[in-house]
């Protein structure tokens, strides 16, 4: 019922992450409330327009409605909103922004947006990022990688093509090097603004192998609409490890224009 | 029908139109400066450790300006009182003082501005910094062409951070003198104008906006001072109201400074 409604009535697209289910559910519940209200009001609306049209009702009633129902309806609305808010929305958001998977149990990726593309950086096979510094950030070195650090030697840096293993949390540290962009993965039910000067964590857990596009959801200049070159490729763990190996060491500072 | 309560109070609200108007306007002004102050706070707490400047402004001059405005508040009050007791001569004298005080304030302020604009920080190719007030630029000085040199009255420092807190013992101890820098050694050079850093930016914006208010207020007061005579003869009560209203604005502008001074000069 719920999922049928989600996909056939309000038309949510295919879901490909485990974290997305809760989001879809919330959207569905709110829309049930909205529909109930809307239909209720419309029926009432139609009825009064018919019943109290001056053709049918010559003399208006000075007192008007004395019914208590409206007050109850209003209270009901308040109650339901409270439930949705405190029962679902608040805990869900809390989970979203304060309970991140540990780096150990997840695939860690640093993503830096730029006009008009996405840069991503993985710790290499050793699972450790080379040290980075703000003041090293430069056009050719968007992550401010410290070339001297050994741990960084095997790091992986890719452009617009972000691979992740399926059924394992992905922990993203998101930033931008020029203006505000926004990382939107429709199928993962994930949106997060990429804000220069900030490094914002966000997470999702892909459940379906395949190729998904990264949408840039924040107006970022005349290339905003064309900033569609980015993809997230969800693979089996094996394919992913192989891919990561093949890219190992690509993080040495270099230009990606 | 004519517009009522332009002079007399409306019985049930106990206020006349213009006075209510100015209070409402001041409410919006509070929000305006409130917005700017919150910007100041956010920028300051957001600043990287050790980078927010301290002691960059001349506290003595700031204090003098504070006193000037405090005095002008008093003279404004007296000017209004003079109108209340129907003594136009006294009104003239008091508001003359107000105007003079205001102009002195602006004079000192512009001196402070000039001081900041003459103050240069030069980034040298060797990674060090030269910092001080401009003494002279040699005739052939040209950064682009890398010719000539500049002379500052100041000193060299190894790290920009040393320039942040001028109240620190090290900064106090620093020896200042004539330093000559050749254009060939200069990486970049800029004065302590708004674009120097977020502190100078907010400093110039806040005080600049405040100075504009002072200027506006002074002009209004001067107008009443110079051309008020006519209305004084025909409708002294209305004139008195105008003095009260402009006075209210003036007190607000003073109040803003009472916040600006500690926030910018003392912390």
């Amino acid at each position: 019922m719920k999922d049928w409604f989600a996909h056939n009535v309000i038309g949510l697209p295919e879901l490909a992450s485990s974290n997305g289910q809760a989001v879809d559910d919330l959207i569905v519940y709110v829309h049930w409330l909205m529909l109930a209200l809307f239909i209720g009001w419309i029926l009432y609306f139609g009825y009064v327009l018919f019943r109290f049209n001056n053709a049918r009702n010559k003399k208006a009633d000075y007192q008007g409605s004395k019914s208590k129902v409206p007050s109850y309806v209003e209270l009901a609305i308040v109650a339901i909103e409270a439930v949705l808010l405190l029962g679902i929305a608040v805990p869900l958001w809390a989970k979203n922004v304060s309970h991140f998977p540990t780096p150990e149990e997840s695939t860690v990726v640093q993503i830096v947006a730029q006009q008009f593309a996405w840069n991503a950086r993985y710790p290499g096979p050793d699972g450790k990022f080379g040290s980075q510094e703000m003041k090293l950030v430069a056009e050719t070195n968007v992550f401010g990688v410290d070339a001297a650090d050994a741990a960084g030697k095997d790091d992986v840096q890719v452009f617009n093509e972000i691979h992740v293993p399926v059924n394992k949390p992905v922990l993203i540290y998101l930033s931008s090097k020029d203006v505000i962009h926004s990382l939107k993965l429709v199928a993962m039910r994930l949106t997060q603004d990429a804000i220069p000067g900030l490094r914002i964590p966000c997470t999702f857990t892909p459940t379906k192998i395949g190729r998904y596009q990264i949408e840039c959801a924040q107006l970022c200049g005349n290339g905003h609409a064309a900033m569609a070159g980015g993809f997230v490729v969800v693979q089996s763990q094996e394919d992913f490890t192989a891919w990561l190996k093949s890219k190992s060491g690509s993080a040495a500072p270099q230009s990606f224009e | 029908m004519e517009i009522p309560y332009t002079v007399q109070n409306r019985p049930d609200t106990g206020i006349y139109n213009a006075k209510l108007g100015i209070w409402l306007f001041l409410a919006s002004e509070v929000m305006l400066f409130g917005g700017l102050f919150s910007a100041y706070v956010l920028l300051r707490v957001g600043a990287a450790p050790g980078e927010w400047p301290h002691g960059w402004l001349n506290v003595t001059l700031g204090t003098i300006n504070t006193l000037l405005l405090a005095l002008s508040a008093i003279t404004t009050l007296l000017a209004w009182a003079a109108c209340k007791v129907r003594d136009f001569g006294k009104f003239r004298i008091f508001h003359a003082c107000t105007i003079l005080l205001a102009l002195t304030f602006l004079g000192i302020k512009s001196y402070e501005y000039r001081d900041k604009l003459m103050h240069y920080e030069i980034k040298l190719n060797n990674g060090k910094f030269a910092d001080g007030h401009l003494v002279e630029k040699s005739a052939d000085f040209d950064l682009a062409k890398k010719t000539g040199s500049v002379t500052l009255h100041g000193h060299f420092v190894d790290d920009e951070k040393e320039l942040a807190d001028l109240r620190s013992p090290e900064a106090q101890a620093a020896k200042h003198g004539e330093v000559v820098v050749a254009a060939t050694d200069i990486k970049s050079m800029g004065n302590y104008g708004p674009r120097h850093n977020t502190f100078t930016a907010i400093y110039f914006t806040l005080t600049g906006l405040h100075a504009l208010h002072i200027l506006g207020g002074t002009l209004v007061i001067f107008y009443f001072w110079a051309f008020g005579g006519a209305m004084w003869k025909t409708d002294p009560e209305r004139f008195t109201n105008r003095i009260e209203v402009s006075g209210l604005f003036w007190h607000f502008v003073d109040l803003v400074w009472i916040f600006l001074f500690p926030v910018l000069y003392l912390t």
């Binding site: 010559k58 009633d61 730029q114 220069p196 200049g221 | 409402l24 977020t198």
Partner: protein
């Protein structure tokens, strides 16, 4: 109904010509053209000035949108008819008569700005407020007529600056009406600077207006016009004025700061280490992009209630008049609008859920956002219940007022999911947002404004607008508005993003077949349909425009109170003379005394001397 027009206490019959002089202001000579129409201090003239200007701007904003909709439906295809013209005036950005991304972004930003700050606010607040409020409260004029004039001139200048910015090199602002930094600062053209200067002027205009309105409502209420006897429209304007007064200054502050960033090279909103288009930006850095967003939305959200409250006020007046019965729950309406006004100041960050907002703050703003929907529900409920037991009279104003209800309902209800951060997480920046707020501002607010125009036109001109064409205007607008905006919900829910200069073809299955979540062709198809619906919507306005101008000279002549209304604005000569009222009205009852028991007429004007024992307040039964 015509018969009622005669039923007036004689002293309120319109005086012949000399009424103007004997009750006019100090100057006793006939004002010349300039004094009368350009530098007038008469609230009625200023109201009409505002009204005309804002309608023109609205039309212009709509025209921009048509061009955008063409580009969305047919990316890169030269605009038919207007293409060559565009290229001639705008040059490079409109090369080959097609709309480049830069131009699209300019149009988008300016559509938003013009519709909000030069269209709806001046029409809903300044125009109707100026013309109607003093009449409704029985005042001779605004408290500060000269400031009123200054406010209009500031508005006019602001508009001019905005328009001029289209023609400067690089064109108008391109960073959206929200002008987020750093984008707004890093775009290398001057459009943004013009936008900011224009905004400062418009803000000044609104502030002057707000001060004037509040002072007028507090000081110039006629004797007997107690707070609880104010028509609710006046309450709505009162709260609106306060919102403008207190919410606009922070944006003015933000505007000044961004202007410094753009012109003086400061870094208020620029963080350290920005690297734009190749090299590190030569700025000190140390600023905060989020600071701008907070300052903007601190105005931005209250602003949306500025757009809706006066509209609701109009709807209430029209409904009360055409149901021929008192408004249901006048008191709760008053408290609700005050509550909305207050709450609107503490919900702003619901526009910023996805800027990395922490748990506590998000909880606070979700809670306040849900709370603010409650008074809105109450207001809507009062409107709906007022219909019950009425003798509903269907005419053009009433049709638009009734149309407002479900339209605002849809827009408001779709605000709820957005208010919940976790749902907004998915819907943010999709067309769902566009659909949400257009339902409130376009078929919502605009319909209410149309209702107001048709309703008060007879007061301004002494003639009615043509009823038949009015109804044509309504039904066509209703149908096409929905055909324009309803599909946007579908597009949004499928993940189609806003501000896409190519209608999101880059994300469509046609372009990226191998991506699982590419937008299906059906979604892209809607773009084409919306274009035609929008064009039809534009055509549907032609009857209105003609009707409006034609009726000034040829509309059916009517008396001072053609709608048999109770409020004071209908108890003065038509059009009201300078000074409005021949005699200061004495208010003796509430605003909506329709069908009051013991009265011959089915309406009892607020200032009709008490004869029989009629209840004093419309809410006696509460």
């Amino acid at each position: 109904m015509q018969s009622n027009v005669q039923q007036f206490p004689p002293f309120r019959e319109p005086q012949p010509q000399h009424a103007h002089d004997s009750h006019g202001h100090a100057e006793h000579h006939e004002p010349n053209f300039w004094q009368k129409y350009i530098f007038s201090t008469d609230h009625k003239v200023i109201g009409i000035q505002y009204g005309f200007m804002s309608l023109c701007f609205m039309l212009f904003g709509f025209f921009l949108m048509l061009l955008m909709r063409w580009q969305i439906a047919h990316p890169g295809v030269p605009v038919p008819v207007f293409g060559p013209l565009l290229e001639k005036i705008l040059g490079q950005p409109a090369a080959h008569g097609a709309i480049s991304p830069d131009l699209y972004n300019s149009f988008g930003a300016m559509h938003g700005t013009i519709m909000v700050f030069l269209g709806v606010v001046p029409l809903a607040f300044a125009a109707f407020g100026n013309y109607v409020v003093p009449l409704m409260i029985g005042a001779p004029d605004m408290t500060f007529p000269r400031i009123n004039m200054a406010s209009f001139h500031a508005f006019f200048l602001g508009g001019v600056v905005m328009l001029v910015s289209f023609f400067i090199p690089g064109g108008a602002a391109q960073a959206g009406w929200t002008s987020y930094s750093p984008l707004a600062t890093t775009i290398p053209t001057n459009g943004q600077a013009f936008w900011l200067v224009g905004m400062v002027l418009l803000i000044t205009s609104s502030l002057l207006g707000a001060v004037n309105f509040i002072a007028t409502i507090i000081q110039l209420r006629a004797p007997g016009m107690t707070w609880m006897r104010l028509p609710w429209f006046v309450w709505a304007q009162f709260v609106t004025a306060f919102i403008l007064l207190l919410a606009f200054p922070p944006l003015e502050a933000a505007g000044v700061l961004q202007l410094m960033d753009n012109l003086a090279g400061t870094s208020f909103f620029l963080p350290t280490g920005l690297a734009v288009g190749g090299q590190l930006v030569d700025r000190s850095g140390g600023g905060s992009p989020l600071l701008w967003q907070h300052l903007f939305w601190f105005l931005g959200h209250p602003e949306v209630y500025v757009l809706i409250l006066p509209a609701m006020g109009i709807v209430i007046e029209v409904i009360a008049n055409n149901t021929r019965k008192p408004i249901w729950g006048y008191k709760s309406l008053v408290y609700s609008v005050l509550f909305v006004g207050f709450l609107s100041f503490i919900v702003w960050a619901h526009h910023m859920y996805l800027t990395g907002m922490g748990q506590k703050i998000a909880t606070f703003f979700q809670a306040t956002t849900m709370m603010i929907s409650v008074p809105s529900v109450i207001i809507l409920t009062c409107m709906f219940l007022s219909l019950w037991g009425g003798s509903i009279r269907i005419n053009t104003p009433m049709l638009f007022a009734l149309g407002f209800l479900p339209m605002f309902g849809i827009g408001g209800l779709t605000g709820l999911p957005l208010g919940l951060a976790a749902a907004d997480l998915y819907l943010h920046d999709t067309y769902y947002i566009i659909a949400h707020f257009h339902y409130v501002v376009a078929p919502g607010t605009i319909f209410a404004l149309f209702a107001g125009v048709y309703f008060w036109f007879p007061k301004m001109t002494g003639r009615k607008m043509n009823e038949f064409w009015g109804r044509v205007h309504f039904w066509c607008s209703l149908v096409f508005m929905n055909l324009v905006f309803m599909p946007m919900f579908a597009q949004g829910i499928k993940g189609m993003l806003r501000r896409m200069s190519d209608g999101a073809v880059n994300y469509s299955a046609a372009r990226v077949p191998n991506a699982i979540d590419a937008l299906p062709g059906s979604v892209m198809q809607l773009n084409g349909w919306i274009l035609w619906a929008a064009i039809a919507l534009g055509i549907a306005q032609i009857p209105f425009i003609i009707n409006l101008f034609w009726s000034i000279g040829h509309g059916e002549k009517v008396g001072t109170n053609p709608w048999s209304a109770t409020t004071l604005d209908w108890q003065t000569p038509t059009p009201p003379p300078h000074g409005n009222f021949a005699h200061e009205p004495q208010v003796v009852r509430g605003p909506y005394e329709y069908s009051a028991p013991g009265h011959a007429e089915d309406f009892t004007p607020q200032d009709e001397p008490e004869s029989s024992a009629a209840p004093l307040t419309p809410t006696a039964h509460h």
